[in-house]
């Protein structure tokens, strides 16, 4: 790979937008000292952004919530934007999401605001070169850890996101029929029952799996708080224990909370089970007011779903775009 890297070259942040964070695959193996995972909320859109830039999986990219990010290139490189539908322009020309573009020094990349979905990913060829903290550059504001400055701060105007200078490449595109559709603003979340599920009676479980729940505005990277039919476990609290990704915690008010990438690592509320990671990618794209439903699956079905998803990703080859545009 021909590459050139200096600290002062890359993509300059002109406007960080609503809330933009550097994320790689996440920080793992450190729950023992209380560190959470971080990482992209929509891991599907994130992996495609890297794939379209011909990157290995897990390269550092930007997660933009809602939109508003404006960047200016000081290198020649390739970028790809995936995730929530939002207007994208490069040097004022309307561009597509889910495909890569070669850009030149001086190019201005402007991302408008999402019209459906809420998380947008911008990847660059070779990834952003940022010093990892605890083996990851993922930004966790609550832990003051990771990101461009290592201190958990979101992107700010003036930040320079360092990346390699790269020769122009053939643009890649994900076929339109393979792109996720975020416009329904609704998601069916598969749940692996577990943890304290025995504290929830059959009736309580029946209510949970047959009711509509709404995403509330108290939803963030730690967890999505839902509102709907209250369900009551037969105990208010448990001894604090480890919380895995997607765990569904039910506090005393009976309103479930789905715990996400920046969750606390231990907690003492009863949990019914966990949402399948593939569906967390869908949940995290929803805006307040959106409806979710739950469906129980076995751990074997979950395992199969993960294997199939991996096969799908490996076998779906992005299309090369050969026409000049």
């Amino acid at each position: 790979m021909s590459s050139q890297l200096t600290a002062s070259s890359g993509l300059q942040v002109i406007n960080p937008g609503i809330f933009s964070l550097i994320q790689d695959a996440g920080r793992f193996g450190l729950h023992g000292i209380g560190l959470t995972n971080g990482g992209p909320l929509d891991s599907n859109a994130f992996r495609w952004a890297n794939r379209l830039c011909a990157n290995p999986q897990g390269c550092a990219a930007v997660e933009v919530t809602i939109g508003g990010l404006v960047l200016e290139a000081t290198v020649d490189t390739t970028i790809a934007v995936t995730g929530a539908s939002a207007p994208l322009t490069i040097n004022g020309h309307a561009c597509e999401l889910w495909r890569s573009y070669s850009i030149q020094t001086g190019a201005r990349i402007e991302l408008g605001f999402a019209t459906s979905g809420s998380r947008i990913y911008l990847a660059v060829a070779g990834g952003f070169h940022i010093e990892p903290r605890f083996n990851s550059v993922s930004t966790v504001p609550r832990e003051s850890l990771g990101g461009l400055h290592g201190d958990g701060s979101p992107l700010q105007a003036g930040d320079m996101l360092p990346c390699e200078s790269q020769r122009s490449t053939t643009p890649l595109s994900l076929a339109a029929d393979l792109r996720p559709d975020y416009s329904t603003n609704r998601a069916l979340l598969r749940v692996i029952l577990g943890y304290q599920q025995a504290l929830f009676s059959d009736l309580q479980k029946q209510l949970f799996f047959t009711s509509d729940y709404q995403v509330t505005d108290r939803s963030d990277r730690m967890g999505y708080r839902l509102k709907g039919t209250a369900i009551a476990p037969s105990a208010d609290g448990i001894l604090s224990e480890g919380i895995c990704l997607g765990a569904i915690q039910v506090p005393a008010d009976g309103q479930p909370i789905v715990l996400l990438n920046d969750r606390q690592t231990i907690g003492g509320y009863p949990k019914l089970g966990s949402v399948l990671s593939l569906d967390i990618a869908k949940l995290a794209q929803l805006l307040p007011g959106a409806t979710v439903n739950f469906e129980a699956i076995s751990i074997e079905q979950a395992h199969n779903a993960l294997m199939l998803d991996q096969q799908y990703f490996e076998r779906c080859t992005p299309e090369e775009i050969l026409t000049n545009d």
Partner: protein, 233 residues
């Protein structure tokens, strides 16, 4: 530990949780710590993370390298005492002594806690130092270690209104637990002193002086020693 008391439950698509009992105790803490160590070795690269806590161990594995059948087997083997060479060796954890500058200057809730307990400040400080605490769990924030159990005479409920800012190093009591705040943060525990040692230092290796299963003893130091050790008031 009797293995009949242990249960394994599904936690998520790539996680199992092992329960060692329904209340924290020294024996349970030993079992959690030694099982964590054995599983770390048994699962190797298939392991993503372990979360030891009061009476449970969350085991997160890589679903592309293994599955819940294999991980259940590994857990069962790790829990089987017959394969334990020397249970006393690994399960006691190391003993760390942490210096504390106790007092009303460094611990704004010390007087109130003593008054509620019907004890003098000196008695509270002495009792707090008399226990070798177990690290039962680490969480809430990076480096926040839950230590137990505090002598019931100096146990105190959380403050009705949590503070917006608890300083780094604050030594605190909540119910029968004690802790040292690893960084400035909001918090509702009763503050009784300050520890000049850092409980979480991202630049240090290891970044925490303790892990779950270790034991912590507190030792009183005076104001001058606290300042000489780099403590900030």
């Amino acid at each position: 530990m009797n293995s009949a008391m242990q249960t394994i439950s599904v936690a998520g698509e790539n996680a199992l949780v092992v329960y060692f009992g329904d209340a924290p105790s020294d024996a349970v803490a030993s079992a959690v710590a030694s099982s964590a160590e054995k599983l770390r070795q048994a699962l190797g690269d298939s392991l993503i993370d372990l979360v030891p806590s009061y009476a449970s161990l969350l085991v997160i594995y890589d679903p592309f390298r293994t599955d819940h059948f294999a991980v259940r087997n590994a857990i069962r083997r790790a829990l089987d005492n017959r394969h334990t060479v020397d249970p006393s060796q690994s399960s006691k954890g190391k003993l760390i002594t942490l210096p504390v500058y106790y007092g009303t200057e460094s611990g704004p809730d010390l007087q109130q806690l003593a008054d509620n307990a019907g004890l003098s400040i000196d008695e509270v400080v002495t009792i707090h130092q008399q226990t070798d605490y177990r690290v039962y769990a680490i969480g809430f924030a990076p480096g926040f270690a839950y230590l137990g159990e505090v002598d019931p005479r100096i146990a105190a409920p959380r403050l009705a209104t949590p503070r917006q800012k608890v300083p780094r190093g604050a030594v605190a009591i909540a119910d029968r637990q004690t802790a040292v705040y690893p960084a400035q943060s909001p918090g509702g525990w009763n503050l009784i002193g300050l520890c000049p040692e850092r409980m979480f230092d991202p630049a240090a290796e290891p970044s925490m002086p303790v892990q779950v299963g270790d034991r912590v003893r507190f030792k009183a130091i005076d104001r001058d020693t606290f300042v000489a050790m780099g403590g900030v008031l």
